[in-house]
């Protein structure tokens, strides 16, 4: 789960990582007021869960409160990478002497946290990694040992940080480590970490990505989820513990298992169609669960055909069939449906569906072809 910049910086601030003074605004009038309080010169920053905000014109310097108001009106009317801007962060403008990069990410390959720093802050770190990889310094942290100061000194040396800044850098790195551990993050990033003209170190921007699997330990952080960044059906799906992701196509998919759900989407594309969604109904799905999943799929107006692909292990074909019948009897929408059941109780399931108006397929590809034909007819 991604957090907004302002949410990330609020967490940083709680851990005493210095951040610029600033507040959040959802209208131009408030932005003007905040700018006034901060002394006039401020930066207006669009709060959307997407990278490249600066390039898209979502981060602008305002020299006066009036300008802050005008820029906020403009930015609040923008969409960045398809996401509408509902809030801006109004931060004091600081005079920057140097910008550096500091982050901790969970490294899958090494199964360990990786702390990274670069003397090239304030730009896309992937670009730096691509163009001048020698400018990025990396240290893996043994999760049984935690972050030790020597590791941060290694990084400081790696990025040629002048000695006078080591103390602040080590302190900030250790606090960032604390944030990473105590919020169960998979990424904590300060980009840029700036050294101001008056020699202070400040986290000018912040990014935190939380591990969804650990949210049960952090109910307060779970509440920070931005529901605007996802479709209502996705929010609804989460309530039922279903994995649902909306896509652009017209063939709705209901599948058990994440890998099989992806494979089903791929087969639809292979057959010349486009999947409308990813949906994993989970293991041992009950009829109710299947019915809920079907209703979610049907709530997408682009859907013209539904493809059900179930390989029964713990999930039973007859239970799935009952769910389909239940959803069909509850809803008025009459869309064509292709059903492919294999594995546990598939025969019983197909028998139940014999009277319903569904097309049956034996194999995955046959199901894909039938769905694509129906979608284009």
């Amino acid at each position: 789960m991604k957090l907004h910049e302002y949410q990330s910086k609020q967490i940083f601030s709680k851990y005493h990582i210095p951040i610029p003074q600033g507040r959040i605004a959802d209208n131009a009038c408030d932005a003007r007021q905040i700018a006034q309080e901060l002394g006039g010169r401020v930066v207006i920053k669009a709060q959307v869960l997407a990278g490249g905000r600066g390039k898209a014109g979502g981060i602008r310097l305002a020299r006066t409160p009036e300008e802050a108001e005008a820029l906020t009106t403009h930015i609040l009317g923008m969409e960045i990478k398809g996401l509408p801007v509902h809030k801006v962060l109004v931060d004091e403008a600081v005079n920057i002497a140097q910008e550096i990069y500091l982050a901790i990410i969970s490294d899958r390959e090494e199964r360990a946290p990786l702390m990274m720093a670069s003397s090239e802050g304030g730009v896309d770190i992937e670009e730096v990694a691509h163009i001048s990889p020698e400018k990025i310094s990396r240290v893996h942290i043994n999760p049984l040992l935690g972050l030790r100061s020597f590791a941060v000194r290694d990084l400081a040396v790696g990025i040629d940080l002048p000695h006078q800044h080591w103390k602040s850098f080590i302190e900030i790195a250790q606090k960032l480590w604390q944030v990473y551990c105590e919020t169960d993050a998979s990424l904590v990033e300060i980009n840029p970490l700036v050294i101001t003209v008056d020699q202070r170190m400040l986290a000018l921007d912040g990014k935190v990505v939380l591990d969804d699997n650990a949210l049960f330990r952090h109910p307060d952080l779970s509440d920070l989820r931005d529901l605007d960044a996802e479709s209502p059906a996705e929010t609804e799906a989460r309530k039922y513990g279903l994995s649902y992701i909306k896509m652009e196509g017209e063939i709705g998919c209901l599948v058990n298992g994440a890998g099989l759900a992806m494979a089903t989407m791929d087969i639809i594309k292979l057959c010349g169609g486009r999947p409308a969604n990813f949906l994993d109904v989970g293991g041992g799905a009950s009829a109710e669960r299947v019915a809920v999943a079907l209703r979610l799929i049907l709530s997408d107006p682009n859907v013209r055909v539904v493809l059900v692909n179930i390989f029964g292990g713990i999930t039973r074909g007859d239970e799935v069939a009952r769910g389909i019948l239940q959803a069909l009897s509850d809803s008025n929408i009459k869309l064509p449906m292709v059903v492919r059941l294999a594995g546990t109780n598939a025969k019983e399931g197909l028998k139940l569906l014999a009277t319903a108006e569904v097309q049956v397929a034996e194999t995955l590809v046959e199901a894909g072809r039938k769905a694509v034909t129906l979608a284009s007819s």
């Binding site: 899958r108 999760p143 994440a258 639809i268 292990g313």
Partner: protein
């Protein structure tokens, strides 16, 4: 006949009195697995399966009493890391973790602790291990596979069942099927299992089932190119997966341009692996 475990493996079930744990213990015993004990803290002294399997309070007690040397974990996510540590600490040398949803930072600690102890972990978020006719540890339905000489290794559950079933229909058998798990931090990766299959006298060819996220398939490809003599056929799920979204499995996410299905397919093809676009075609390419 099999890698990782065999008929002489003495299996312990952690979380044996839970709904899932008990259900799958029945299945595993039916499939010939030697389940010697169960552990549920607070339920020590009880018996399950009509008095056939004793339940202990701790793994240490279970190991002392029964000589268990492998464990399968059906414990809920918030208690599972503790269960894995406990098994490793009590001297269990193979741990298979079925549990889905364990926090990543817990798993990083688990991984490094187990590496010190030289304990093998399969999973988490794994369907387990199946060697038809020999042993089953986990939840893979045994009736969809027959004994043979194909090794199967996968990050997925039901997609693997689909492929096992396709192999069976084509009359092709399996030496061992290993589900390495759909999480980002897992104990055993493709490379580990491929090297076991390469060394296994009863495996002549391998099916690898990958998916988006991480770089495990790419590392497998480089191992296959350099070290592997046995033929490999692969399928990689998620060509249509959008970037930045978690595709059900916690580990199935394309991040910062890494983890794309296309780059995995290219890496595997460059290593001489035949990568099918339709998983049902795997038996076709195994026989050719």
């Amino acid at each position: 006949m099999s890698i990782l475990a065999n008929k002489s493996t003495r299996l312990l079930v952690q979380g044996i009195t839970g709904r899932e744990g008990l259900f799958h213990t029945v299945q595993m015993v039916r499939d010939g697995t030697n389940v010697v004990a169960g552990v549920t803290p607070g339920r020590g002294g009880e018996w399950v399966l009509d008095g056939k399997i004793p339940v202990f309070d701790t793994v240490r007690l279970a190991v002392e009493a029964t000589g268990a040397n492998a464990s399968v974990i059906f414990v809920p996510a918030r208690y599972a890391p503790d269960a894995i540590f406990e098994a490793a600490d009590a001297g269990i040398c193979l741990i298979v973790c079925i549990t889905e949803g364990i926090p990543n930072q817990d798993m990083m600690q688990v991984y490094h602790y187990l590496a010190q102890k030289k304990v093998r972990l399969i999973g988490p978020n794994s369907p387990g291990i199946l060697s038809p006719g020999e042993i089953k540890i986990g939840i893979i339905p045994s009736d969809i596979a027959i004994l043979g000489n194909t090794g199967v290794v996968s990050r997925s559950g039901t997609l693997t069942y689909e492929i096992l079933y396709a192999l069976k229909r084509a009359g092709m058998g399996v030496s061992t099927c290993v589900g390495i798990g759909g999480d980002p931090i897992i104990g055993t990766d493709f490379l580990d299992v491929l090297s076991m299959f390469e060394a296994d006298a009863h495996t002549d060819r391998v099916v690898l089932i990958g998916e988006v996220g991480g770089t495990d398939e790419e590392r497998a490809a480089s191992y296959i190119a350099k070290e592997m003599t046995k033929p490999v056929v692969a399928f990689v799920a998620g060509l249509t997966a959008p970037p930045g979204r978690r595709m059900g499995h916690a580990g199935a996410i394309i991040e910062g341009g890494a983890g794309l299905a296309q780059s995995k397919i290219e890496a595997l093809e460059n290593a001489g692996v035949h990568v099918v676009r339709n998983p049902e075609e795997i038996p076709l390419f195994l026989s050719s």
